[in-house]
């Protein structure tokens, strides 16, 4: 179906189901319970899961397949955001023109940066992209202020033209009248589920681009990109020019990033230069590696993981900890809170950093590899595989007759 193999189709269906059911799945604890703060089913966070998922899927097409590590993808994120806000200012709050412009602009921008940066590979490529992204950040922050509104960030003012606006149009981002920040809340026996328009808008786009990335992974083009990663010499001597292939991958992943940036501005009609900063570029690298570079699902998992930590762990503070351990004797309680203190609240980076180190050291294939290992040990596939390998003793090479 849809040009996918049976296995991929069922995989895609599983992903669609999980994405659409996210508002329910991320709300495992009833409202008001002690664990309710671990619930992640609120619109703002779910939107981030979907948007950064898209960002990471796109990044993975470049890094996971070709092995070219770009440290400048946040620039495209920023370009996407600015494009969308400009369309708000000029036309109306409908997100569609903005998103189309975001994809086109980031694609063109990626073409320019990629054309220059891809003359080098390895660390030199990474540094070139980093330099470009920092240049873009500084331009947006302090030079191109008429276009970006500098450090205040670009936003919509009442005296903006908004030529397509009439009295009936919503005054916040919408998709042909479906307002992004509206939600319907359903209360089921203590559990509160929020079904947010913005989340579903992002989720449907995420599913579409996930499907596209799946097609790319399975296409001849995908094989060529993986070939670039393993051996460019052979690629050249097979009559293939690696340059246009890497450039195409770079532009595609830039367009994904632009789309993600556009969606960020579709959820919240603001665009700031800090979105282009190198930390944002680093974040998507972390997401991809944490989840598993080169796998289909890994980057999305990684994105979800990091965003979850950023939003949930950072909210746990000493008071919350004291609440948890209040049953313990006072001295012990204080000691435990003192021990946990560096890892929570503002220290969530520390927890994430440790986790990242553990994953990179013990699970080089990322969370996906961890999942596969657990799955194999549960189903006993590992043992089977070992027996299989026993049969595959190197046979004496057969003579050609």
């Amino acid at each position: 179906m849809l040009g996918l193999s049976k296995k991929d189709t069922s995989f895609l269906i599983a992903v669609i189901f999980l994405t659409l059911a996210t508002p329910i799945l991320l709300q495992p604890f009833p409202e008001g319970s002690a664990l309710a703060q671990f619930n992640a089913g609120y619109p703002d966070l779910m939107q981030r899961f979907a948007i950064y998922g898209i960002f990471a899927i796109g990044f993975n097409i470049l890094f996971g397949l070709t092995g070219y590590l770009s440290f400048g993808h946040a620039a495209f994120l920023g370009v996407g955001s600015y494009s969308v806000v400009w369309m708000y200012k000029l036309l109306s709050y409908n997100v569609v023109p903005g998103l189309i412009l975001a994809i086109i602009m980031s694609g063109l921008f990626a073409l320019l940066i990629g054309y220059i940066s891809l003359r080098r590979s390895g660390i030199y490529f990474s540094i070139l992209t980093l330099a470009f992204a920092q240049m873009s950040f500084n331009l947006a922050y302090s030079v191109l202020t008429p276009l970006t509104n500098g450090e205040t960030g670009l936003q919509v003012y009442t005296d903006d033209p908004q030529v397509l606006m009439d009295a009936a149009s919503p005054s916040s981002p919408h998709f042909f009248g479906i307002v992004m920040n509206e939600s319907s809340k359903i209360d089921v026996g203590g559990w509160l589920f929020t079904f947010n328009n913005g989340y579903y808008f992002c989720a449907i786009i995420a599913i579409v681009v996930f499907y596209l990335s799946m097609r790319i992974f399975r296409s001849p083009f995908g094989i060529m990109l993986r070939a670039i990663k393993t051996n460019q010499t052979r690629m050249n001597y097979t009559g293939l020019n690696p340059r246009p292939y890497t450039l195409a991958a770079f532009v595609i992943s830039g367009m994904y990033a632009g789309l993600a940036g556009g969606l960020l501005a579709s959820m919240d009609p603001l665009a700031g230069a800090e979105r282009m900063q190198w930390t944002a570029s680093g974040e998507v690298v972390l997401m991809t590696i944490l989840g598993g570079a080169g796998t289909l699902m890994g980057p999305i998992l990684g994105a979800g993981f990091i965003k979850y930590f950023e939003n949930i762990f950072s909210k746990i503070n000493d008071t919350v900890l004291h609440g948890w351990f209040s049953a313990l004797p006072d001295g012990l309680e204080d000691a435990i809170v003192f021990l946990f203190h560096p890892f929570i609240g503002k220290g969530w980076h520390l927890t994430l950093g440790l986790l990242f180190m553990l994953v990179v050291i013990f699970l080089p294939g990322g969370l996906i590899e961890g999942g596969t290992r657990i799955w194999n040990s549960v189903t006993g596939r590992n043992r089977k595989k070992k027996q299989d390998q026993g049969d595959h003793h190197p046979k004496p090479a057969a003579h050609v007759n």
Partner: protein, 252 residues
């Protein structure tokens, strides 16, 4: 007129004359070996033939068209394939994917954005790749990752990848270097079989005299960057100049 004509090629690296007045005329359909002691300029010559090095003077014509200044992928698209001293394959990919890539390159040229096409739909190419794999007796290994193959199998795979593109000229750089005797003999058989069934012109650079004498129809002896003699294997064996320059040196 031969398929590959090298005339008056000179190449200097600093003070070293790597190639001096090399003239070669390789006849179509033959197996031509280039031998010579270490440092004789064999590899430099090969790199000139594939466009990796541009000689200081001279011309290299393939079917009457100059190969100089072209990229390796352009030279491949002209019909020249190269087998490396250490097998260059896509080691992270499966054997079958390794075979598919040259098939795509042959059909689609140096670049094509087939990002939303399906591999499964390419029945003709799949058939072609599978046929080639079974021809080199590797059909049962099609799902293995190329890096897990034995060295001999890697070499076979690399040759199969070159052959599936139906090149007019196959360049082999020490195809049996570092191989065990059995693997060497297998490779010789494979190459002989390829030559008989397809009439591909081959240029072999080789150290191992056993390989050279079991394959070559013509031999050029290179010494200090210049061709010493060019003759049939039978004549080369007893040639006094060759003994002096090559075998004599090897014994010393």
């Amino acid at each position: 007129m031969g398929i590959l004509e090298v005339s008056n090629v000179n190449k200097r690296f600093g003070g070293l004359q790597a190639l001096g007045d090399v003239n070669l005329d390789i006849a179509s359909g033959t197996v031509h070996a280039i031998i010579g002691p270490n440092g004789a300029g064999k590899s430099t010559l090969l790199n000139v033939l594939v466009g990796k090095l541009i000689p200081d003077t001279g011309t290299v014509l393939f079917n009457g068209i100059s190969v100089l200044g072209r990229n390796p992928y352009q030279i491949n698209q002209m019909g020249i394939s190269r087998v490396f001293q250490t097998p260059e394959i896509f080691s992270d990919l499966s054997v079958f994917e390794n075979m598919l890539i040259p098939c795509f390159a042959k059909r689609d040229g140096a670049f094509r954005l087939h990002a939303l096409e399906s591999i499964v739909a390419e029945k003709q190419l799949i058939e072609k790749a599978e046929h080639m794999l079974s021809e080199v007796n590797m059909a049962d290994k099609r799902h293995m990752t190329a890096s897990s193959l034995s060295r001999g199998d890697k070499r076979r795979l690399e040759m199969a990848m070159c052959l599936v593109q139906e090149p007019k000229l196959l360049l082999l750089d020490e195809p049996t270097a570092g191989m065990a005797r059995a693997d060497t003999n297998n490779t010789i058989d494979l190459l002989n079989q390829i030559h008989e069934s397809r009439e591909i012109t081959m240029v072999i650079i080789e150290h191992d005299m056993h390989v050279v004498f079991s394959l070559a129809k013509r031999i050029t002896v290179l010494a200090q960057g210049s061709p010493l003699v060019e003759d049939t294997p039978a004549n080369i064996k007893g040639h006094p100049k060759v003994k002096e320059a090559y075998l004599g040196e090897a014994a010393a």
